[in-house]
Symmetry: C2
Subunit: 334 residues, 2 copies
């Protein structure tokens, strides 16, 4: 392994000159600078980030923890944050919690151990799970996205999930549906709770009673959507429309519907939260509530950078606007 010392020797200068040249300091004479660059090139030298981080007390790493990278929402979030980070000269250490608070905790420790100055976290759990979150994080800055609510003591960014769900369900209601099923998400997460609450609120707004049999419980995974939908279909009074709490479960729902020979929106209308590339390729194109992912990703990174630069404001909870995108998967109930 070629070190800075080697480069210094090859260039006939001290390690300081090498370090300064690499850091693009202004006080190195053009001549030495050239000799250094030449030696770097010739030896194929690459600066050791570990030694650098150790000395400087901080690495150029940020942590990014998501619960499930195969969920298109998170995929895009990772893509966007990764981009932001690269442009700012940071690299991302990726962690996947698989919706497991335990594993999330380990990952947080890992990020800290790697001297990540900060971590963007898509929490797997509830606010109650995060009592010791601050102590795990230590000096590391934390920003929570998606499954986050005010009161975690850190900066958070999310949509108004109850509102998003309400929007979708009201769309169904406005089309005349009264038997509206829901494939709900993890009830121990805010996101799951709030989307269910939004559904109930929409129903209540129309003077409709909440019917527990119309709720299929899931945990945001594909298979959950599949099974919950089958279960819904088996009801005495099957729903004429189904609201699905996220896109991964929507896949499962569509698969179940497909298998059952149910046409969308002919037999049953479907809408869900989270837009994704496939939504328009579908026949019918899928009606969804869209979260502004790129915007949230950029803001999350910006928020983290602010903290890294020593921002001392009170932790803020930013709420992002969603948009109902009406396509073709919901029809009037006759």
């Amino acid at each position: 392994m070629v070190t800075m010392k080697d480069v210094a020797r090859a260039a006939g200068v001290s390690t300081y000159t090498v370090s300064a040249t690499l850091a693009e300091a202004t006080n190195v004479s053009p001549e030495l600078r050239a000799r250094v660059n030449d030696a770097v090139e010739r030896l194929g030298y690459e600066r050791n980030s570990m030694a650098r981080a150790l000395k400087r007390g901080s690495s150029s790493l940020i942590g990014l923890i998501v619960s499930d990278i195969t969920n298109p929402f998170f995929t895009e979030l990772v893509e966007c944050i990764q981009n932001e980070a690269r442009q700012a000269g940071y690299s991302v250490l990726l962690g996947v919690s698989d919706h497991d608070v335990e594993r999330e905790t380990q990952l947080l420790r890992l990020m800290r151990s790697h001297q990540a100055g900060g971590t963007i976290l898509c929490p797997a759990g509830d606010v109650t799970d995060y009592g010791e979150l601050r102590s795990i994080a230590g000096q590391m800055k934390l920003v929570a996205v998606d499954n986050a609510a005010a009161g975690m003591g850190i900066d958070t960014l999310a949509i108004d999930n109850a509102h998003a769900a309400k929007l979708a369900v009201e769309h169904l209601l406005a089309l005349g549906h009264r038997q509206i099923g829901m494939v709900a998400g993890l009830s121990r997460q805010f996101v799951g709770q709030q989307r269910l609450a939004g559904y109930q609120k929409a129903l209540a707004g129309y003077g409709l009673a909440f019917e527990p049999n119309l709720i299929g419980q899931g945990s945001f995974r594909l298979e959950d959507g599949y099974h919950a939908c089958k279960q819904l279909l088996a009801q005495r009074e099957a729903p004429t429309a189904i609201f699905v709490a996220n896109n991964l479960m929507l896949i499962g729902v569509m698969r179940a519907l497909h298998e059952a020979g149910m046409k969308v929106p002919g037999h049953v209308s479907v809408c869900s939260i989270d837009d994704f590339p496939w939504a328009t390729a579908f026949q019918p194109a899928l009606t969804v509530v869209k979260q502004p992912i790129a915007e949230m990703a950029a803001a999350a990174f910006r928020t983290l950078m602010n903290r890294l630069k020593g921002g001392k404001e009170e932790p803020a909870h930013a709420v992002y606007q969603v948009e109902l995108i009406v396509r073709e998967s919901c029809a009037k109930h006759l």
Copy 2:
């Protein structure tokens, strides 16, 4: 920041004892071990991976470079490799090259700079782009997956892309299609070249002439599929079937077909390479050639670990079996 020294002082032992306890060495008395663990707990100590890596000369990081994480193939690959790595005590530093060889090179340098012992790379370019790959990598071990061919001087894992394409096209041929269009991928990548070659080979096997007008050129991105498909549809003699070189472009194709009011498989049959979760949720469910992603991911990681442990075999090129999964998107041509 709490260091090992702090822990040692708090526990009334030397740093060695702390280090040994943390390393689960067997030669620390239970009593001291307990005192150390207690102090670690109390102080919220987390070992500094940077210092550790610096001292040991290697970090517990592996690099993972993919060209596009929103491509479900890569998403799943990342998911799988990430899982393997975690189980083996490694963390993954994620890089996205966006099909750009230049950026890929930078990422490789980055991985090296972070002391990644090895990197799993999904190359963005052609073999000719990799003359200096070894010098960029330095001591770092490299394993190439997906867009890789023998002769890169490193371990590679891939499917037989020509065969995969041939399989798909022959399926179309067997159904009676003779006007078969193709939405091809980046011609500067192996994968793109070989899938096109497979298409041509299948045609040749049926004594059919290659018709350049039936090829829509793309670069594996969603929009390419969309535009290439539109272009194909505008031909004097529009194809009765379309073979799409990857799943991201397939989205674009399905979107274009949807917009044009073309029914699948009524008006046009469609098949592509890469299975993905949505394929069965679609109506019709999509016929695809499936790559054994989990298997390849596990093998890639295993191969890398072998090199990390000093394996000295000749670089090998492992070829994986694909499988044509016939679903509903291809119908007999009447």
